[in-house]
């Protein structure tokens, strides 16, 4: 249990460093930026207390905000993701799997379900983040491009992270 906690912490930290050092500087066509650090939130099993996932999402987002000058935006999106991540997981998982012991990974869920889970979470996070960033629905076209592009990019990044994670 302690081992799992530490490995999760190590994963979160390395993802976080990766995010602030590499992914924050990615701006494909000036629109899409990936946020693969949310992968750390996706890995929480259903047995974890809900208040913990919410707080973890908030703190992770807040830490990321500090390095991008978007104070409050990623924290807000992260807290919402922490709240809804268990719902999404519960809804997408096969009925046969036990809620308490199940770990959300491609090995347990299968690639199809895991990627649907990852894309849903990415989309949720990116939508909240970009809506807060533009704070206005007048320019809805670039807003939609931002959300869709970043969600797609984040999902692709999570796919590769899951590939690596699977090997370990």
């Amino acid at each position: 249990m302690i081992n799992i906690l530490f490995s999760r912490l190590a994963t979160a930290l390395s993802l976080f460093l990766l995010q602030i050092l590499v992914f924050n500087h990615v701006r494909i066509l000036g629109y899409a930026t990936p946020f693969p650090y949310i992968f750390a939130l996706l890995l929480f099993p259903l047995s974890v207390q809900r208040w913990f996932t919410v707080t973890a999402g908030f703190l992770l987002g807040l830490a990321a905000d500090m390095f991008t000058g978007t104070l409050g935006m990623q924290a807000s999106a992260g807290a919402l993701l922490g709240l809804l991540q268990p719902y999404l997981l519960k809804r997408l998982k096969p009925v046969s799997l036990d809620e308490e012991s199940m770990l959300p990974s491609s090995r347990v869920l299968g690639w199809g379900i895991f990627m649907r889970y990852a894309i849903s979470c990415s989309f949720l996070f990116c939508a909240v983040f970009y809506v807060l960033e533009s704070f206005d629905f007048m320019l809805w076209k670039p807003l939609l491009i931002n959300i869709a592009g970043s969600a797609l990019l984040t999902s692709v990044a999570i796919f590769f992270l899951e590939l690596i994670h699977r090997r370990i």
Binding site: Q49, R50, W51, T53, V54, T55, F58, G61, L62, D65, T70, L71, G72, M73, A75, S76, A79, L80, G82, L83, L132, F135, D136
Partner: protein
């Protein structure tokens, strides 16, 4: 109470979520200039829209009271309007002939407004005192006119006041004529009724005088300009010597109530006086010539 605590225990994560979102939004609105400006302007416009709705609703609720007040005011104004209309109609009928005639006839003369401050009607030969005197440009033998006709002639002046001999004084003797006919005579008062005087020396061939014909100043005395109304014909009868008519005149001015008057300062009275003096001197010279 128990249910509430149960609810809070079961959904504690939701309260955590709300709290953290509030923190996140506080940070966002405090540190992000763009978002905070958008937030402030949106909040302002929302507040003003809500205020507008409130004000509109308040005005709508007040409409009944406003309507009642307006109706009351309308009724009051209508009544006032009717009263004023009849008053104006009456006063026009009364003043039209006399007031406008006074204005027209006196247009070329300087008018000094004055007020009667003393009125000794109870005496056999009454006098009036007005509150304008020599300092205001009033000299003896200036005419005094009221709103309904002439009042009298200035007799003496002090710096602040003047003594006026009214028409209702036996000493008064003013040259008058009958409007439209031109025959003139002298207006005298013989005591008694304050509103009745006599116009003497109207020639018998003047014809039939209609009751109600206006008697006006002749202008011969230079005290009054010609055409100022004095009164109206009441009746005509023969004079005591049988040579002329005496006309009963109802005076326009009510001397029991006279209050606001005008003193007429004629500019050419000195000229007329000097001309008359010349005439007198000429007559004297011709008489003295052998």
């Amino acid at each position: 109470m128990h249910a509430l605590f149960d609810f809070l225990r079961r959904y504690n994560y939701f309260l955590v979520f709300i709290l953290l979102e509030v923190v996140a939004f506080t940070l966002l609105l405090k540190h992000q200039r763009y978002q905070s400006s958008v937030w402030m302007s949106a909040a302002n416009s929302t507040v003003s829209a809500v205020n507008g709705v409130y004000t509109g609703a308040g005005q709508l609720l007040n409409l009944k009271a406003v309507n009642k007040r307006l109706t009351e005011e309308n009724v009051r104004l209508k009544a006032e309007y009717e009263m004023l209309r009849t008053q104006i109609k009456d006063s026009i009928r009364r003043e039209q002939l006399i007031g406008s005639a006074v204005r027209k006839a006196a247009a070329d003369y300087e008018m000094i407004p004055a007020r009667v401050v003393s009125n000794t009607l109870e005496r056999a030969n009454p006098y009036l005192v007005i509150n304008r005197g020599a300092d205001d440009g009033i000299r003896p033998e200036m005419g005094v006119v009221g709103g309904n006709g002439i009042v009298g002639i200035v007799y003496q002046t002090t710096p602040g006041h003047a003594l006026v001999i009214p028409l209702t004084n036996r000493k008064s003797n003013i040259s008058c004529r009958i409007r439209g006919l031109g025959y003139f005579g002298y207006l005298v008062w013989q005591g008694g009724d304050l509103r009745r005087a006599k116009l003497t020396d109207i020639p018998r061939y003047a014809g039939k005088l209609k009751r109600g014909t206006i008697i006006e100043t002749s202008g011969y005395s230079a005290v009054f300009p010609p055409g100022l109304p004095v009164g109206r014909v009441l009746g005509v009868h023969n004079s005591t010597d049988g040579q002329s008519y005496t006309v009963d005149v109802r005076l326009g001015t009510d001397f029991a109530r006279v209050r606001d008057v005008m003193v007429i300062a004629t500019s050419y009275k000195p000229e007329l006086d000097s001309l008359r003096a010349d005439v007198n001197r000429l007559e004297l010279e011709t008489e003295n010539r052998p």
